[in-house]
């Protein structure tokens, strides 16, 4: 088990967003987090990478135990050093080229020397099909290209796990396709991934496990084939039916 989360709770004021979520992720697993908007998927993902502080919750990750509601900055740094995060709206550093977006963390956080970092970044950009765009700034790239660079940035330092927060929701179907194929390739290489998504094809064909959430609780979870072909819960069935349309 690379990641195990116990009983995350989070509210924004009166609004309970996460009502005690637990989750286990094996090494090499690809977990799709599904659910209607407002079900808490994104908040859950953000809690796992310390972008939000939950009211309570414990995380076992890479052999360490963390109290997510009271992380020191040292603990946050140690979590983030081993994780990658891909945002819905890419969030590439706008003042850095594609290459610099990838080398930034390698040089500043991982203290690699520049030459090594550039080699590693070029290799990673190659992998996502963006090598020939290395010297371009984000504003010169299409959304799909930006997202592929963002994926390169997230995986360049060989993280133990990569989180994807609706990585294709801001893209048209064609651009989404190029991003999804990169993610599929990563999954096939054995990258551990947790993906919040509305891309049902990806969830169905690439993910190994699916967690279906609503109102801050897990409604149903299981192996992908099982959950798609024969969901236990009526609510899951209804959601999948709607998403198919």
């Amino acid at each position: 088990m690379i990641l195990s989360i116990k009983d995350i709770k989070k509210s924004f004021g009166e609004q309970n967003v996460l009502n005690g979520i637990s989750l286990d992720v094996e090494k090499g697993d690809v977990v799709a987090l599904l659910g209607p908007s407002g079900s808490g998927k994104t908040t859950l993902l953000r809690c796992m990478n310390c972008l939000e502080t939950p009211d309570s919750g414990v995380m076992e990750f890479a052999g360490n135990s963390y109290n997510l509601s009271a992380l020191s900055s040292r603990e946050k740094a140690s979590i983030r050093k081993r994780t990658g995060f891909v945002f819905q709206n890419f969030n590439l550093f706008r003042n850095k080229t594609a290459l610099e977006n990838v080398t930034e963390g390698l040089i500043v956080v991982r203290k690699m020397n520049r030459k090594e970092a550039v080699e590693k970044a070029e290799e990673t950009l190659e992998k996502v099909g963006m090598a020939s765009w290395a010297s371009h700034y984000p504003f010169e790239l299409s959304g799909g290209q930006q997202q592929r660079v963002a994926i390169a940035r997230a995986i360049a330092a060989d993280p133990e796990i990569v989180y994807f927060d609706e990585p294709t929701s801001a893209l048209d179907p064609e651009l989404a396709g190029e991003v999804l194929s990169v993610m599929k390739m990563l999954a096939e290489e054995g990258m551990t991934m947790v993906v919040v998504t509305h891309a049902m094809d990806f969830a169905r064909n690439v993910s190994k496990h699916v967690i279906f959430m609503e109102h801050g609780v897990v409604v149903e979870r299981g192996k992908t084939e099982k959950l798609f072909s024969d969901p236990e819960e009526e609510r899951t069935r209804a959601f999948l039916r709607l998403e198919e349309i």
């Binding site: 740094a77 994780t83 969030n91 706008r94 003042n95 940035r153």
Partner: protein
């Protein structure tokens, strides 16, 4: 109106006005503005980071400086402080006042720049594992300064003209040099227009520099 006498005075005085412009007005502007930028960045960072007590101090500073006339500030430092035993020479006194004064305005400009950078840039930096200061120095501040650049250039242009106020605390900059020639020749109209035109030339150069700077910075877009 432009008699030979006036033309003679104008050409004789030209270098006597220009030289203090180059040796006093411009250095005063450059030194003061550089210090103002340092102050402004520190004050903007304090306000942006929302550190309680420091933030209150920063806001107090901006409040007082923006709420009192520059001329009064010059007089307080140069004529007032000797009362408590602090004597400062005219030029350094002017530098101190201009830097502190401009710092308050530029702090607001840079703070607005920082707040204009989308929050996702900060989060992306965090997710890469960078510390707050690393993100600030390498990601947020460069973008904020890029956003603030036209307004900051505006401030320099404004400041080079404000340095004429330093004449009031005996700094022999361009305007004071002109006043002295006027006192001798009784040709205020021609001479004050002449110094005005020199200021105009200085500002034109700065405007060109601003455009050039914007083009240079334009490699990436915000």
């Amino acid at each position: 109106m432009l008699s030979e006498r006036v033309l003679g005075i104008l050409s004789d005085s030209f270098f006597r006005i220009l030289i203090p412009g180059l040796t006093v007005t411009i250095p005063l502007t450059v030194i003061s503005f550089s210090l103002a930028l340092v102050i402004a960045i520190i004050v903007a960072l304090i306000q942006f980071a929302k550190v309680k007590i420091l933030k209150d101090i920063a806001r107090f500073y901006v409040w007082v400086i923006r709420g009192t006339p520059l001329l009064v500030q010059l007089f307080v430092v140069f004529y007032g402080l000797p009362n408590v035993g602090i004597l400062i020479d005219p030029f350094p006194a002017a530098v101190i006042v201009f830097a502190i004064n401009e710092g308050a305005y530029c702090a607001e400009t840079i703070r607005a720049g920082l707040e204009a950078v989308p929050y996702g840039q900060m989060e992306a930096g965090e997710c890469v594992g960078m510390s707050y200061m690393q993100i600030m120095r390498r990601i947020l501040l460069p973008q904020a300064l890029r956003i603030s650049f036209p307004t900051l250039a505006n401030s320099v242009i404004s400041m080079i003209k404000d340095t004429s106020l330093a004449a009031n605390i005996t700094v022999t900059e361009m305007f004071m040099a002109t006043q002295r020639i006027v006192a001798r020749t009784y040709e205020p109209l021609a001479l004050y227009i002449e110094v005005g035109l020199i200021y105009l030339v200085f500002c034109t150069v700065l405007t060109r520099l601003q455009r050039y700077g914007e083009k240079k910075l334009g490699r990436y877009r915000i």
